[in-house]
């Protein structure tokens, strides 16, 4: 038969409930007869019970609280900004470099608003509406969510210089968030097939380029003021375009 070591090991499997029913019955008989296994089983019960019921030491509540707070800051439901609140947030921005950036950005925003409105004949505007009509049930929600999340992300990115040196962990999260958004773009792209959706596509193209830039850029590159301004302009422009497209989607929904 089995040697003493093998048989106690099998007894542990038996205690763990790992043996098939028939074999378990047989092994119960063995344990009954084998002194080594009986002693092992008795010790095992004490040891496993003690291990399973040990009281945990600490942590201090303050430490646990700060852990929870930090995690929720990293992964929280980022509160949804009210419509156009990004304008307020930008205007409240205290960093001088950012203000300069904002001033330039608002200027470009104004120009691009004019450009956007004059460039888009109403026919093109309607075509977007038509697309949304056709696929309203299937696409309205994901696109809405996409724009909403893009907006939050952009706001966060824009606030980077304000926060000073970004903690490594936060940077990692931002990066992988950006990567996730890129994945969404692919999905949304696959949903849109008609030519009329060119406008959405244009937005997505721009957004994708920005995201790629962000992902590829080194943290330090962003500390250069000129770079910040340029970035702020681009981001504001994209933000504005996202808003425009969402307006169209929403007014389209009201028509339904």
């Amino acid at each position: 038969m089995e040697g003493p070591l093998e048989c106690t090991e099998k007894t542990m499997a038996w205690l763990d409930g790992a043996l098939a029913r028939q074999e378990a019955g047989k092994w119960a008989d063995h344990v009954e007869r084998c002194e080594t296994c009986r002693a092992f089983a008795a010790d095992y019960r004490i040891i496993s019970h003690a291990l399973s019921h040990r009281q945990r030491t600490g942590p201090f509540k303050s430490m646990l609280d700060s852990y929870h707070t930090e995690l929720s800051r990293l992964f929280s439901v980022k509160s949804a900004p009210p419509r156009r609140s990004w304008v307020d947030r930008l205007l409240l921005s205290p960093a001088p470099a950012m203000r300069l950036g904002q001033a330039a950005a608002m200027l470009v925003l104004g120009i691009s608003l004019g450009w956007f409105l004059t460039r888009q004949p109403s026919r093109e505007k309607e075509s977007v509406t038509v697309v949304m009509d056709q696929t309203a049930a299937a696409t309205a929600r994901p696109i809405d969510d996409f724009f909403h999340e893009s907006e939050i992300w952009l706001l966060d990115v824009m606030n980077l210089p304000q926060n000073g040196k970004l903690a490594d962990q936060e940077w990692k999260v931002t990066r992988s968030y950006a990567e996730r958004l890129l994945g969404q773009i692919v999905i949304i792209r696959e949903m849109s097939k008609a030519d009329e959706e060119k406008q959405v596509q244009t937005y997505l193209d721009g957004f994708e380029i920005l995201l790629l830039d962000m992902i590829n850029s080194q943290k330090n590159d962003r500390s250069e003021i000129l770079m910040q301004i340029r970035q702020a302009i681009t981001e504001l422009d994209l933000l504005f375009r996202a808003d425009m497209i969402r307006d169209q989607i929403q007014s389209d929904h009201q028509h339904i």
Partner: protein, 189 residues
């Protein structure tokens, strides 16, 4: 894995930040304590746990749902903790016994009715945890997951990427070591 959790994972995979936040909230304490059991220092455990969730978020696409989400997350945590320990081998390990005496707000489990019995058990636990420092990394990992974190042998096998039989052998060897150490301690008195 419950239906709710599955939905959260799917949503998180699709880029829903809030859904991942919910998963984090559900597992944050479990992961912190699991890592603590390896590194024995809450400050390190806290940092490592944050890294675990960041890693999980980054790698969510790789989670295919073949194992339970908790097993997948536990694996990342164990790897993170073991990796940290290997890198900080020479760092001083917080003294277990003093840390056990220093206990504060964690009296959530009181399984023993008599205070006398409880004291005896407490002493036994201190001894066991001390002896656990002497077993191999694999054995210790298996013991921590099995007895401290109530993972099944099947889950541990998946997590350690070995067979269930191997897990049982790790556990068996660890238990045998603990038994022998306890017997020796008895003789010392």
């Amino acid at each position: 894995m419950g239906f709710h959790e599955k939905r959260l994972i799917l949503r998180a995979k699709a880029g829903d930040y809030a859904a991942f936040g919910e998963l984090v909230t559900a597992y944050q304490d479990k992961i912190l304590y699991l890592i603590y059991d390896f590194v024995r220092n809450y400050e390190d455990a806290k940092d490592l746990a944050q890294d675990v969730f960041i890693k999980a978020f980054e790698r969510l696409d790789q989670f295919e749902g073949r194992s339970r989400f908790s097993t997948w997350l536990h694996r990342i945590a164990v790897n993170q903790a073991l990796d940290f320990k290997r890198r900080h081998k020479k760092m001083k390990v917080q003294d277990l016994e003093s840390s056990l005496l220093n206990r504060d707000e964690f009296h959530d489990r009181q399984p023993f009715p008599s205070a006398e019995r409880s004291l005896e058990q407490q002493e036994l636990r201190i001894q066991l945890e001390h002896c656990l420092g002497e077993v191999s990394e694999n054995q210790k990992t298996a013991v921590i997951l099995k007895y401290f974190h109530q993972q099944s042998t099947e889950e541990i096998a998946e997590l350690m990427q070995c067979s269930e039989a191997t897990v049982r052998t790790h556990l068996f060897r660890a238990i045998q070591h603990l038994r022998k150490s306890l017997i020796l301690n008895e003789l010392d008195r």
